[in-house]
Symmetry: C2
Subunit: 244 residues, 2 copies
């Protein structure tokens, strides 16, 4: 009686998700296309409407469908693509569970900012969004307002890198850290230093120098967040492993 595989009991709503995913891959469903109404889907797939609805909640959570009630062309479930919102929810919950620490999120942000700035500098994208964000930052009167445009500036860099996945991750990290960004601005008291950093970042990206762009971002973040983990240096020979 050995060698038997455990029966993998798949739940009904999982089958619904799998079917929808098959349609996406096979029938070439894409963003903007509508899915059948919940009642029709339930009948066609021979499951209850509850199971279809649970599948919809999952797909909605992952940022691939959006549901609208009512009647007409805009009603029903439509395929969308909002990975950033899903990532934001994910980060927020796991930060709350303390399964991710703030340090880890901040370090990830530094990595992505440097990468984005370096790639934006060679990608040749339109930088007018960055210039506009800089102007608005100059005119900001509160820390919240400053951070809002600061976020637009940094997310703009990620988008200018041409990588939508990186940009989505960047946006999620910023959303998760917004509170701490406001605290950082209030702690510094003066935004002159920050603005000098930002203008330097903009300048070197526009000049097309990836190494300088990466360095400028690192300088900026270390100024804004002194508690950030230290820069990497070669480990001393024979140094003991980290840990308590």
């Amino acid at each position: 009686m050995s060698g038997w595989e455990p029966v993998r009991r798949t739940r009904a709503f999982e089958d619904v998700i799998a079917q929808i995913e098959l349609r996406i891959a096979g029938d070439g469903l894409t963003v903007g296309d509508r899915l059948p109404a919940e009642r029709h889907l339930a009948e066609q797939l021979q499951v209850s409407r509850s199971s279809v609805r649970e599948a919809m909640r999952v797909l909605e959570t992952l940022g691939v469908v959006s549901s609208q009630a009512g009647r007409g062309p805009d009603a029903g479930a439509v395929l969308i693509s909002k990975p950033a919102e899903a990532l934001t929810d994910l980060l927020r919950l796991h930060l709350g569970l303390s399964s991710l620490s703030l340090d880890e999120v901040v370090d990830a942000r530094l990595m992505i900012e440097q990468w984005s700035a370096a790639h934006a500098s060679v990608h040749g994208a339109d930088l007018s969004v960055l210039a506009a964000a800089l102007e608005r930052m100059e005119r900001a009167t509160t820390a919240e307002e400053f951070v809002e445009h600061d976020t637009a500036f940094h997310v703009g860099i990620a988008e200018a890198s041409g990588n939508r996945l990186i940009a989505a991750i960047m946006l999620s990290l910023r959303d998760s850290l917004r509170r701490y960004a406001v605290e950082a601005v209030e702690r510094l008291g003066d935004t002159a230093g920050l603005m000098a950093d930002h203008h330097r970042i903009y300048r070197v990206i526009a000049a097309g120098d990836p190494a300088e762009a990466s360095a400028a971002v690192e300088t900026h973040l270390r100024y804004a967040y002194p508690d950030i983990s230290p820069a990497l240096r070669p480990r001393e020979h024979g140094a003991e492993p980290a840990g308590p």
Copy 2:
């Protein structure tokens, strides 16, 4: 009649999620703790069990709860922390929707691999997992088997960096790219070159040199994936922006 805010109709399951999130933040609920049974939660929150279940599907999708049927200490909904699985689902679906391109995922992977290797080299973590993966790679007879241990090696580097968020993203990216990794190994035909790369990566990480580790990873990935986007170089003055 202007200046009115649209009434933000919150759905019942969203309120349930918010309540659970409040308990996580306020009561210090953490990984391993159990949530009340669906029927009890429905009664306490004055909503139907369906709404509670839809909330559970969302939290399950985000990798923060796991549900077990039956009775006893292991039954019911338990708080967990599996961000990597949620990320994997997210990437797979958005890749299928063509809202993310393979290039973007591969580029993100290169970024994370370099960061991980550099930080692993200075973090002083236990590298025995990497050594074991190397041995198993040597003995692999099929491309699938090789890729399996190759994945363990690269994910091991990300874990050795000490950043769980980065490690989770790394794992998700690898899962999404597994198919292409197998193709890459089959295309190369011989794994001798790949093994030399891997041994070099292990060596420089163990030696504690972040710059060399980053370079070794980049060399390796460019060898395995010749189609990867080119290395960054300063943009020529007056170069035209990238086209469509």
